[in-house]
């Protein structure tokens, strides 16, 4: 039986559909929903407000033409897709959201949010672009502002106790997610990058976090069994790729697909879809400060400087026995495109691994050209080092 046929995977594959139904029912009985777009959104505060947090980051090409009626065409596809879902009102999760929580990350996003705010109630957090003490102080104030907005909009009080509970719950989810992703450390990995991406993508829509945890733990147990029995879609010799860079999801997965169709194995996602989610919140001390510290630490290219990303790439390359790094950057994403230069030097010189940058968008128009690059890159990785 293939992994996708197992019960755990099947249940994960249908999370979105089930979640839409659950949302509709819960909304009728008073559940509040907050939509988020970014790893900087402190989900703990939303959960502590008794609301559901759903990820609304656009990963589909479909609504982009509608977005381009307003937004520049040469903008990052993730921003266009996210906005396109709002103007076309075609995302049920966005439809159910009572409030959008957004941050001033990159220029494109923050200006898009100004437009999005005209369509839906939106709370914008001013995110500092550096990770130091002063930034932390102002970020704590921003978290307090969000807390007040949530309390006011949802008519609740976010006590320290409730925040602590939310921290524990989300940390538990991270623990579960990490154990799952860490199965890819095995050589060969018992799960393909596309399968893992399906899990990462779908679990972001589950409003029942405990269900998420149970499903992922079940899948991890299945993967352990498979690994012990020597079952894998790959062999020992399959080149192992770390995908770094911009967020990806189902619909913006073409590079992951191509790498695996061309004979590689994506063993890790060094991005906001994958490993960047796993950093836990400190459970000791003041909960709001702990949440602020955790989220300010996210190593995104919109921070300057952004040393955390280099450390994370290094760790993952070593821990996941990575043969080569692909840095995926969306067209129009200045921060990741520029940072790619320094990352290339770092990966080639410090980590002695081949590096390939791929700059593309969500459309399929360059599939053939990408194939040549990816195949050539895998040919480099396939030779004995």
């Amino acid at each position: 039986m293939s992994l996708t046929q197992t019960e755990a995977f099947q249940r994960i594959a249908t999370i979105r559909e089930r979640s839409v139904i659950a949302l509709k029912e819960s909304k009728e009985t008073g559940l509040k929903v907050a939509g988020t777009y970014c790893q900087y959104s402190p989900a703990e505060l939303i959960v502590a407000a008794g609301a559901a947090a759903v990820s609304l980051c656009g990963t589909s090409q479909t609504p982009i033409p509608a977005a381009e009626k307003v937004l520049p065409r040469n903008l990052c596809p993730l921003i266009k897709s996210s906005y396109g879902f709002a103007v076309t009102d075609t995302c049920p999760f966005l439809y159910f959201a009572d409030l959008l929580v957004a941050e001033t990350t990159c220029d494109g996003k923050k200006k898009m949010y100004e437009l999005l705010g005209q369509i839906k109630p939106l709370h914008l957090m001013q995110l500092p672009q550096v990770q130091n003490e002063t930034a932390l102080d102002s970020w704590i104030l921003e978290l307090k502002r969000l807390k007040e907005r949530l309390e006011e909009s949802f008519g609740v009080e976010i006590t320290s106790e409730r925040l602590r509970d939310a921290i524990r719950l989300l940390n538990e989810e991270r623990r579960s997610l990490k154990e799952l992703m860490d199965m890819c450390r095995l050589k060969p990995s018992p799960i393909s990058g596309m399968e893992l991406l399906t899990v990462l993508h779908n679990t972001g829509f589950n409003i029942d976090r405990r269900d998420n945890i149970a499903l992922m733990d079940q899948l991890t147990a299945e993967l352990r069994r498979r690994a012990a029995a020597g079952i894998s879609p790959f062999t020992e010799a399959t080149p192992r790729v770390l995908l770094s860079g911009v967020p990806v999801g189902i619909g913006s997965d073409k590079v992951v697909k191509l790498v695996e169709e061309c004979g590689g194995s994506v063993v890790g996602f060094e991005n906001c879809t994958g490993y960047k989610k796993l950093d836990p919140v400190d459970e000791a001390g003041d909960p709001l400060v702990a949440v602020a510290e955790r989220y300010l630490r996210v190593p995104c290219s919109c921070m300057s400087p952004n040393p955390g990303r280099f450390e994370l790439v290094k760790r993952l390359v070593e821990e996941f026995q990575v043969d080569g790094v692909i840095d995926l950057t969306w067209q129009g994403c200045h921060t990741f495109n520029i940072e790619s230069h320094a990352l290339k030097q770092f990966v080639q010189e410090q980590l002695s691994r081949p590096f390939l940058q791929i700059e593309t968008d969500y459309s399929e128009s360059d599939t053939e050209q990408l194939k040549v690059r990816i195949e050539a890159f895998l040919e480099i990785l396939a030779r004995p080092r």
Binding site: Q348, P354, F355, D366, E368, Q369, K371, V372, R373, E375, A376, E379, I380, R383
Partner: protein, 252 residues
């Protein structure tokens, strides 16, 4: 062992028969039937070598078409094949520049001749053999004619790298009465600048080998070498380097 490499390019399909050395080779236009082109290049090359198809131990296919044919034992990208061919012809090669019909690429090789990095331009015709062909056509010249025309002329600066815009720009310049020589020099300049832009993203280490049919044109070689500030090594018959590399890989 006798091995064969077939490089299906966007304009020409090349085949090389290898057995310790090049025994036969052939080039045919790719046209609309890349499969046919591959088969006829194979036939011609075998004929020249005086070798029957049954004696061939392995065939590797490569090239832009990247079409999988039943006769191929394996398909390998043109990046790996060009590097292998260039390194075989000139073991000191650390960089390969290839201007193909629909793409151009710069490939970095390590000491052992293995690909360590590469950069490709294949989004549009700018900086490719196609660009040169179209522009030569506007001037009513062959590629060789374009080269000799350009020799010694002061290049006019063309602002468009895009084949479509450059075409209308050139027609405009001709209408203004600008000398064809200066325009020809300007066209070569544009190609060189494009390659320079590509090469800027990779450390160009000596020896730089220039492959692909375009390298047959001495004027283009001169202009590119001048822009990059390096000496270019042009192997004999540069258009066969990819097919040779494929044949060498097939012999592994």
């Amino acid at each position: 062992m006798v091995s064969v490499g077939i490089d299906i390019g966007s304009t020409a399909t090349k085949a090389v028969v290898f057995d310790g050395g090049v025994r036969g080779r052939a080039v045919v236009p790719t046209g609309w039937e890349p499969r046919e082109a591959a088969l006829s290049a194979l036939r011609d090359a075998l004929l020249q070598a005086g070798i029957a198809e049954g004696q061939v131990g392995g065939i590797v296919g490569t090239g832009y078409g990247r079409i999988s044919l039943p006769i191929f034992d394996r398909r390998v990208t043109e990046i790996t094949c060009h590097a292998r061919g260039a390194h075989h012809l000139c073991p000191a090669t650390r960089t390969v520049i290839d201007i193909g019909g629909q793409d151009s690429k710069v490939i970095a090789l390590d000491e052992g001749g293995m690909v360590s990095d590469f950069i490709m331009n294949d989004k549009c015709a700018a900086g490719t053999g196609r660009f040169l062909q179209v522009m030569a056509g506007v001037l009513d010249e062959t590629l060789d004619g374009l080269g000799s025309l350009a020799a010694g002329a002061e290049p006019v600066s063309l602002s468009s790298m895009c084949a479509v815009f450059a075409e209308s720009e050139i027609i405009g310049l001709l209408a203004k009465g600008l000398e064809k020589e200066r325009i020809a020099a300007g066209i070569l300049d544009t190609i060189a600048r494009r390659v320079q832009g590509l090469a800027g993203r990779i450390a160009l280490r000596d020896t730089v080998t220039f492959t692909g049919g375009t390298a047959n044109n001495p004027a283009i070689c001169r202009v590119i070498a001048a822009h990059l500030g390096v000496k270019l090594h042009v192997p004999e018959d540069p258009q066969f380097v990819g097919a040779l590399g494929a044949a060498l890989i097939a012999a592994d």
